[in-house]
């Protein structure tokens, strides 16, 4: 009798050669690729930030030319938002959502692979603008008319717009995949009110993407039509309006902030109960708060435009909604605090990062609430006060949770422990460095320093805060490096982690570290919100059939359940590794490159090749479609 594990291994193994590398559809490998690639972009954008800070260390420096400065701050923003924050959080989601819900893969594994390849291609596409010497220089917000063909005739803005359209394909594919996976592939018994909060965070993230991203894609398509073909959507002389760009951009752009923060808050919710040693207090409120943020975030975009000269009554409504969106964040914070206070803290590195997150996110949230007050916003928007605010929200609210995630889940992903002492050194360097960098920016902003300025004169009181920010940036950067060193040290010679180093409550701790390709020997039956704490039979990832475990070892399959109560419905046969997602990505890259250079012949060839690759992907082949 061959064991389930051996049978599953035979069916799920993808091979280690080139075919496996190119064709993998394993959500864990793809998740790690998102993480590694995202962190590479983090380093690139971080170096860009370092150069910006060197230029601003003192008045009237000439470290960078004005043009270089403008390109670097634009690329810093675009890269951090689109190529670092979102993909890295998608990486955590990719890796852990199927594990946490007891599935064997994402619902659409090839679409998942496709999403990664497109992200990689779009990221390379955008950054190749540096090689072309025409990097985007109109900011990540890319306002018109500065970004139109008259004021920016180079390809810089085309690189920007096309890469965002391209990348949108990846993000949308990923979001739909998360939604279907979470709604349909949960282990039996994982009813809606037993879904881990991290997974709810991914739901809120995915919903936000699905509703917000089209606005950005539309804005970028209209922009390219205007730049390439002389349309007039944003051109006042032709009856268009540059403010249309702002509406479209921020209708996407504000939810974008939440789609970065929501999964990060989910990550925090995954860590706090483990290291407070008790179930989360206020689970229902946290979940409702996450979903409320998703809904309300679509009603606040105009608070980026309070200085545009819009009617007072419109600003009043948006102001009210902006105050309102603070509440669900507050709800989560107090639920976490209640959990921590009524539990017993375990001060692991991950928990230190969460504690740091709490402080920074509360400060960022408080200054965020200040921006809901229209007159204060009008005074401080586009000053360094805003730069301070959103770095507290995005770095404090997302990067610190990501680093917490690296320390919390690193052992699961690597199979080895990270060094806790190095981790705490990294945390303190990052925490102190971050505050030293960004707290003085509040001051600089209130002292009247506008953002996006490549230099400033002496004598305006801006010297000290700017110098502190530059010094702090260096400390912050060193802190980040310590974690990278820690990670790669652990990867090569860390102590073995075991299945469940922290005594975690969710399902990913049931299986081995790193998990096998099929995740669990048996798809488990869930009877608790904290299954690992209250269902001891889950340990080892092989709940016995008597306890409700289903091996599904006869094919390449996972289980589909109902949306609400997670009752088993069908065995879903999963596709095998395939190179076609990569081929389609390459064909699309050709098409986008053709459009970039207005080489329409190349674009058409790329488009035809994309259709062909799609057909190749979907072509019926008896051996892969096991149904």
């Amino acid at each position: 009798m061959v064991s389930y594990a051996e049978r599953l291994e035979a069916v799920w193994h993808e091979g280690t050669g080139l075919a496996g590398f190119v064709g993998t559809v394993d959500h864990k490998r793809i998740g790690l690729r998102y993480l590694y690639t995202g962190f590479v972009f983090f380093v690139i954008a971080g170096i860009e930030a370092g150069l910006l800070r060197m230029q601003l260390a003192a008045p009237d420096l000439e470290v960078l030319s004005p043009q270089a400065y403008n390109e670097l701050f634009s690329m810093h923003g675009v890269t951090m938002m689109f190529l670092f924050a979102t993909p890295v959080l998608s990486g955590f989601g990719n890796y852990f959502v199927p594990l946490m819900i007891g599935a064997r893969d994402m619902a659409f594994p090839r679409l998942n692979a496709f999403g990664y390849w497109v992200f990689l291609a779009a990221g390379v596409f955008l950054n190749s603008a540096f090689l072309a010497g025409q990097a985007p220089d109109a900011g990540w917000f890319n306002y018109l008319p500065l970004a139109n063909a008259e004021f920016t005739p180079s390809l810089a803005i085309d690189f920007y717009a096309l890469s965002l359209i391209f990348l949108g394909v990846s993000t949308t594919a990923g979001a739909i995949n998360f939604l279907v996976t979470i709604l349909k592939l949960r282990a039996p018994g994982m009813t809606l009110n037993r879904i881990p909060i991290f997974v709810w965070g991914e739901v809120a993230f995915a919903l936000t993407v699905v509703f917000a991203l089209p606005a950005l894609t539309v804005a970028a398509v209209l922009l390219e039509l205007e730049r390439k073909f002389g349309f007039h959507f944003y051109d006042i002389a032709g009856g268009g309006d540059p403010v249309l760009w702002q509406h479209l951009f921020w209708f996407f752009g504000h939810p974008e902030v939440y789609l970065i923060v929501l999964p990060a808050l989910g990550l925090v919710s995954a860590i706090i109960p483990t290291f407070s040693r008790r179930p989360m207090i206020g689970y229902t409120y946290i979940v409702l708060a996450e979903l409320a943020i998703f809904v309300i975030s679509f009603g606040v975009w105009v608070h980026h435009m309070f200085a545009v000269g819009l009617p007072t009554i419109a600003m009043g409504f948006i102001s009210a909604a902006s105050f309102l969106v603070v509440v669900p964040s507050g709800t989560q914070i107090f639920a976490w605090l209640a959990t921590m206070v009524s539990g017993r803290l375990v001060l692991s590195t991950a928990m230190w990062f969460v504690l740091g997150f709490l402080v920074l996110f509360v400060i960022g949230g408080l200054t965020g609430a200040m921006f809901s007050a229209v007159p204060f916003d009008q005074a401080t928007t586009d000053s360094y006060f805003v730069v301070a605010h959103f770095h507290y929200v995005l770095v404090g609210g997302a990067v610190f949770p990501m680093f917490a995630g690296l320390y919390h889940w690193g052992p699961k992903m690597l199979g080895r422990r990270l060094d806790e002492r190095l981790g705490k050194i990294s945390f303190w360097l990052m925490f102190v460095g971050f505050n030293l960098t960004f707290f003085p920016m509040h001051v600089a902003g209130l002292l009247g320093q506008p953002r996006r300025t490549y230099t400033y004169h002496a004598g305006l009181g801006w010297e000290l805060p700017n110098l502190l920010s530059t010094v702090g940036g260096a400390v912050f950067g060193i802190g980040i490096l310590v974690t990278f060193v820690n990670w790669f040290r652990a990867k090569s010679r860390g102590a073995p982690a075991g299945d469940d180093p922290w005594g975690g409550e969710t399902l990913e701790w049931a299986t081995s570290s790193p998990p096998p390709e099929y995740n669990f020997e048996t798809v488990p039956t869930i009877r608790s919100r904290e299954p690992m704490w209250f269902q001891p039979e889950l340990r080892g990832g092989a709940q016995s059939p008597e306890e409700g475990g289903r091996p599904l070892a006869d094919g390449h399959a996972t289980l589909s359940t109902t949306i609400g109560d997670a009752e088993p419905r069908a065995v879903v046969h999963m596709p095998h590794a395939s190179p076609w997602p990569l081929f389609l990505t390459l064909a699309m890259t050709v098409a986008f490159t053709g459009v970039l250079f207005s080489s329409w012949g190349v674009a058409v060839v790329g488009a035809i090749a994309s259709v062909a690759a799609t057909m190749g992907w979907l072509w019926p082949r008896g051996e892969t479609q096991e149904t």
Binding site: A307, F323, F376, L447
Partner: protein, 318 residues
């Protein structure tokens, strides 16, 4: 945090939001201090709860406390929903009151000044025909309405000590009202990224008592004085300057660059980039690209003698 805020409000040289000299800015300052105190209170509560969690101590081992918490969920509802809603509603009401006060103030504007944004300088047009650049004089004790727009990209008119900022958007004319009782020079700067030289787009609002202001306006409205030395004017009129610049009272009537009728009365060149000294003026005319790279003005290719004559002439335009 409070110390930092206090330092900000006392920093004498800075164009600080927290050193308000205009009525709108004073309202904003009041709003800031209200919100800061609330924020500090919230932060203290959060920090206090974190401290409690710390002080409860750790436990060896990984034992889980599965007991239900009687106070937990009610606490979340009260501290995490009800209290924030109450506080935020209060702040919202105050902020709307301030917003209305700020936007309604100008119903009785006593002076309207048109300000037009250019890459990368400010054009100010007064009733009566005075046109100047980057230095805008206003009378104290009167409500002054700024009607702002742009000829190219979006800029934002921001003088932190006087009023909230207002964007200058193509095809729109926006309005911001300023009223100050304190004479002084208030620095402002473009607050919407507008391309290469966004950093060097400063402006100065000079508030002076009405009598002084009237004299200034009268002078600015008048055409340029005839120069003592006709050679300077001739050199100027021969040069490429006149293609873009106006000097009222002469044949120079270009409109791309700033009006130079009273250029010598201004403190800076290139919208706050350099001081308006004789030497800087000569440098600027000879090659603005070394002073403010990317500025629309091209280098002027003339002999040293011609340059000298032109500088001499411009220095006389007070």
């Amino acid at each position: 945090m409070l110390l930092a805020a206090a330092a900000v409000s006392c920093n004498g040289d800075a164009p600080s939001v927290l050193d308000p000299q205009g009525e709108s800015a004073q309202r904003i300052d009041g709003l800031w201090w209200l919100m800061l105190w609330i924020s500090l209170a919230v932060l203290a509560v959060v920090a206090g709860l974190m401290a409690v969690a710390f002080l409860r101590g750790r436990r060896e081992g990984l034992e889980v406390d599965a007991s239900s918490s009687r106070w937990g969920e009610p606490f979340v509802v009260v501290a995490g929903v009800i209290v924030p809603v109450v506080i935020l509603t209060g702040v919202f009401v105050v902020s709307v009151r301030d917003l209305n006060a700020i936007t309604r103030e100008g119903d009785d504007a006593e002076l309207t000044i048109e300000v037009v944004g250019h890459m990368w300088w400010w054009e100010a047009r007064y009733p009566g025909g005075a046109v100047t650049a980057n230095e805008i004089h206003i009378p104290t004790g009167q409500t002054v309405r700024f009607e702002v727009t742009t000829v190219d990209v979006i800029h934002s008119f921001w003088v932190p000590q006087l009023a909230p900022k207002i964007d200058m958007v193509p095809g729109r004319t926006n309005v911001v009202d300023v009223r100050t009782g304190t004479p002084g020079t208030y620095r402002g700067q473009c607050a919407e990224y507008c391309g290469l030289q966004h950093a060097n787009m400063a402006l100065f609002v000079v508030a002076e008592p009405p009598g002084e202001f009237e004299r200034w306006l009268e002078n600015e409205t008048a055409p340029a004085a005839s120069p003592a030395d006709q050679a300077g004017l001739d050199a100027f009129l021969r040069s490429s300057c006149v293609g873009c610049h106006t000097v009222r009272g002469t044949d120079a009537s270009g409109t791309l660059g700033p009006d130079l009728t009273h250029v010598a009365s201004r403190e800076t060149l290139g919208a706050g980039t350099i001081e308006n000294t004789r030497e800087n003026l000569a440098d600027w005319i000879a090659n603005p690209q070394t002073v403010k790279p990317g500025a629309v003005m091209p280098p002027t290719e003339i002999s040293a003698e011609e340059l000298d004559l032109i500088v001499e002439y411009l220095q006389g335009l007070t």
